[in-house]
Amino acid sequence: MAGDKGLKKYFWVLFFILPSLLGKLIFTVFPMLTSLGLTMFEWDLLTTPEFVGFENFKYLFTNPTFWQSLLHTLYFIVGYVPIVIVLGFGVALLLNQKIKGRSFSRAAFFTPVISSWVAVSLLWMWIFSPKYGILNYLLGLFSITGPNWLYDTQWAMPAIIITSIWKDIGYIMIMYIAGLQNIPDEYYEAAALDGAGRWQKLIHITFPMLSPTTFFALMISLINSFQVFDQVWIMTQGGPANSTTTLVQQIVMNATRYGRYGYAAAISWILFLIIFGFTVLQNHLQKRWVFYE
């Protein structure tokens, strides 16, 4: 806003940001920094922490399980993020049009989002059940023998990815629906007057106007999927034979089961660096394709 300078501007900055910032410093940053400090210790929570310097990091880089879990996490991201965003966008577009029953459909798509992972996993574990599940049954109708899905080292992660996409489409959908509301009708009307067809309207109006939302959806999906844990834990516990274990699962197991909180913190901070790197990259690239008014 033009005209705001100096002290007056900083007064307003403080006024608006302080509650959030202060709370964040106390309740988020402080615990984060504590965990950073603890990466140099070995701590089972039951006795006093023991200083070990960089041992945890040394162990991390030489531990094949860490690299496996990193690989699996990346596999999950590559399979999940693009598809969930594209599908979420498509559904939002579809359900933004004047179709009968769109309110019901929107609510239907949102139901998996608010369901707990326990219920969703139970259902999908049945769907993927090699012998009794409906998926292999349907495949059988087309003379295809379905794989053992969650019990097959090759197919377990795809199964988890499919389940995750299914659950989160509604989440992306409502973000895009909110974004679509912000596009004034006039833009479309003007374009129509200029002779623009449906496809052109999509590319020249909808996409650019939604780019902040897409940026947001991409960022959030990326940050969240690097930390994927709940569904993997419930559906396969990282199995079969460690083929689906993720970084956060390693963190949780080391912190809670193995009594190695320091090592778990070390993994967390390496993960942090990876996510941070990706985010900075994405932030930088946004200047190229994200369009703000």
Partner: protein
């Protein structure tokens, strides 16, 4: 020629409707299955092969739910915590988002990156130091212990900043010229224009708080402070679980979320927003 086009439109629409019906039904399938399992008898809740519809419809799952857990108490705890968290988050996050979106100050990008950074550490690791902090505040087994740490999520700030950034500036500038200060502009111009994102964020904040499990697990030990997810977890024994009871609890805990969503959806309609721009 016109007839062909019309036919094409009809087939396209029919395909669309069919896809919609199929996808919507798969989406609500877990909910349907949850309801149906909650109405089954204790014994054959997970029979082989899985039955979508109960053999015998009974309410014994629900009865038992209220017998073995203080469901009502946990429900109101969850509700209280979620409502206050949502309102608090909306206020705190929208204000911060406004500053990031509309005030150009030095270090704004860096500070925002810091905000994003706080989302990049898994909560399972920060929960231990946070617990010890709460212990020293004396906030264990209290409502403030349940609520306050969750008020400062960066997610809302991020979401709303994106939204504020894409609002046309004309209205705000006009108000500024009319002599309004930033707070007035925020309340009278920006917030009303942002109803969709506020509702979306409110929805997500409520949902996160409602389903939150790990933090309430650590910060509460007394049964009367438990929230719903804790209660649901306690329905599962070390070896045995009565799934119809668990599903009954799960169904009941989803209903408020669904209601809030249905109510919120009404306000996500287009006309509500653009009216401001036509002025």
């Amino acid at each position: 020629m016109i007839r062909k086009k019309a036919n094409l439109r009809i087939t396209r629409k029919t395909i669309l409707y069919i896809m919609l019906i199929i996808s919507s039904s798969t989406m609500i399938m877990p909910f349907v299955w949850m309801i149906s399992t909650s109405l089954k008898t204790t014994q054959y809740t997970l029979s082989i092969p899985i039955q979508l519809l109960p053999d015998k419809v009974t309410l014994e799952g629900y009865k038992r739910l209220f017998e073995i857990s203080s469901f009502g108490r946990m429900f109101s705890n969850s509700f209280l915590v979620a409502i206050i968290t949502t309102i608090g988050q909306l206020l705190i996050s929208s204000m911060a988002a406004y500053a990031f979106a509309r005030i150009k100050f030095r270090g704004s990008d860096l500070l925002f990156l810091l905000y994003l950074a706080t989302m990049m550490i898994p909560s399972q690791v920060t929960v231990t130091p946070l617990f010890i902090l709460m212990r020293y505040f004396g906030w264990l087994d209290t409502y403030q212990g349940l609520i306050v740490p969750g008020l400062f999520r960066a997610f809302g700030v991020f979401l709303m900043r994106q939204s504020f950034l894409s609002l046309p500036r004309e209205l705000e500038e006009a108000a500024y010229i009319d002599g309004a200060n930033r707070l007035v502009i925020f309340i009278r111009v920006v917030l009303p224009l942002s109803k969709p994102v506020l509702i979306t964020q409110g929805l997500m904040a409520f949902m996160d708080s409602w389903n939150s499990y790990l933090w309430p697990l650590f910060v509460t030990s007394k049964a009367e402070m438990f929230t719903l997810p804790l209660g649901l977890a306690n329905l599962q024994g070390q070896y045995l679980t009565e799934w119809n009871v668990v599903m009954a609890g799960t169904v009941l805990s989803i209903i408020p979320m669904l209601c809030i969503y249905i109510v919120a959806q009404k306000y996500l309609i287009k006309g509500f927003v653009t009216s401001g721009l036509k002025g």
